[in-house]
Symmetry: C2
Subunit: 225 residues, 2 copies
């Protein structure tokens, strides 16, 4: 077992800390060999019972993307009404997708019956297949960052509309709709942090000990730096 | 924007390809500074509306772990009955957790009301907060691999039992129950692959074009190598 060299560790941590949810893209295409590396990384995600429930729909057709964009527009019009006052103004000013600007959208789906019906490890937590698919999305996102490719996750779309546009069979669920493309720059911090939407929580505030209300045994320096 | 050096990219890909779901652990504790780096990586996951819905419950208390182990044992007894014949024998022979052998278990939870009630990006996909929490789990898993620490995800436990044992408030959901520890070695391929449970799918088989039933435009070499 060869330990990771410092530069290898640094590369992983750099991808994790410098990954951003992107909304602004350049229009030039992503080279096939880069895209292959990114997709291979996604495909090597963990999956419950090794069921590998994901598919990656690579969407370039502008006609399909226009339909998805229209579905986003409708869902976002509903969403903006849920916020009030200053918060609503701030929301309305945020750019939340790049569906039409990017050369490539990817819908990551979950086939809920792959290798089924009974899946090892999913017998009492039926959503483990969705979670496996999300792990694939996170792998894809990190690999894209290392390749200098921006990724934005568009969650403001109704799943049933997306399923209809992409002709998904009943058993297949759209988990993530992603925009991918080259970008001018990755911001230093998340856009929602910069825009004053929410602050990053201190790590200490999300650590708990033994139970939800348990006390830090006191001899631990975890999360202090 | 500084591109990733080759060694940095290689480090990320190595973590992705060499990450394993581990069930066999050594008993020595994980150093605080290593654990802090792993948790910091998890905390820098993407989250819908930057809500950072996760908490990390670090469970060392053997009494708590014994209760969790008993919950696993019961759920696994139910699970084994769902398989038949040779498949059942193979299932029963698999080691599926290391709850008591590891020095540390971590329950990663999702607070469904954090910064709520209305969360940007979650207005029409309410499970986006669970998905954000899963992204944190995947970050944790990759960082642990780079630090030489094994992680195993135990999904064969009923969520309500886990919530009771860990005193989770109603609004908080347990997303992942993880075992962490030093290991002798990381296997070259997933244990379920080696055991003949399921094969790894070729990447090409999980790629689709424009829609679910769309054809490869033909000029793409994606996934061919």
């Amino acid at each position: 077992m060869t330990p990771f060299a410092d530069a290898e560790k640094a590369g992983l941590y750099r991808a994790i800390f410098e990954r951003r949810d992107m909304r602004r893209f350049r229009s030039e295409p992503i080279a096939d060999e880069i895209l292959t590396r990114i997709l291979k990384a996604a495909h090597h995600a963990p999956s419950v019972g090794f069921m590998q429930p994901w598919d990656f729909i690579l969407i370039r057709d502008p006609a399909i993307r226009k339909q998805v964009h229209e579905a986003f527009r409708q869902a976002n019009e509903e969403a903006v009404q849920l916020f009030q006052g200053e918060r609503q103004k701030l929301y309305a000013a945020l750019k939340l997708e790049g569906i039409l600007e990017t050369p490539l959208n990817i819908c990551v789906t979950c086939d809920r019956e792959r290798f089924g019906p009974v899946v090892l490890g999913r017998t009492c937590q039926p959503d483990m297949d969705l979670f496996s698919t999300v792990c694939a999305v996170q792998n894809l996102w990190l690999a894209a960052r290392a390749e200098g490719i921006g990724v934005g996750w568009v969650s403001i779309i109704h799943a049933d509309q997306l399923s209809a546009i992409l002709h998904l069979p009943q058993r297949v669920v759209p988990v993530a709709y992603l925009c991918l493309g080259h970008v001018d720059d990755f911001p230093l911090e998340p856009e929602l942090q910069t825009a004053g939407w929410l602050p990053r929580l201190p790590l200490e505030d999300v650590l708990r000990f033994d139970t939800w209300d348990g006390k830090n045994p006191g001899n631990l320096s975890i999360g202090k730096k």
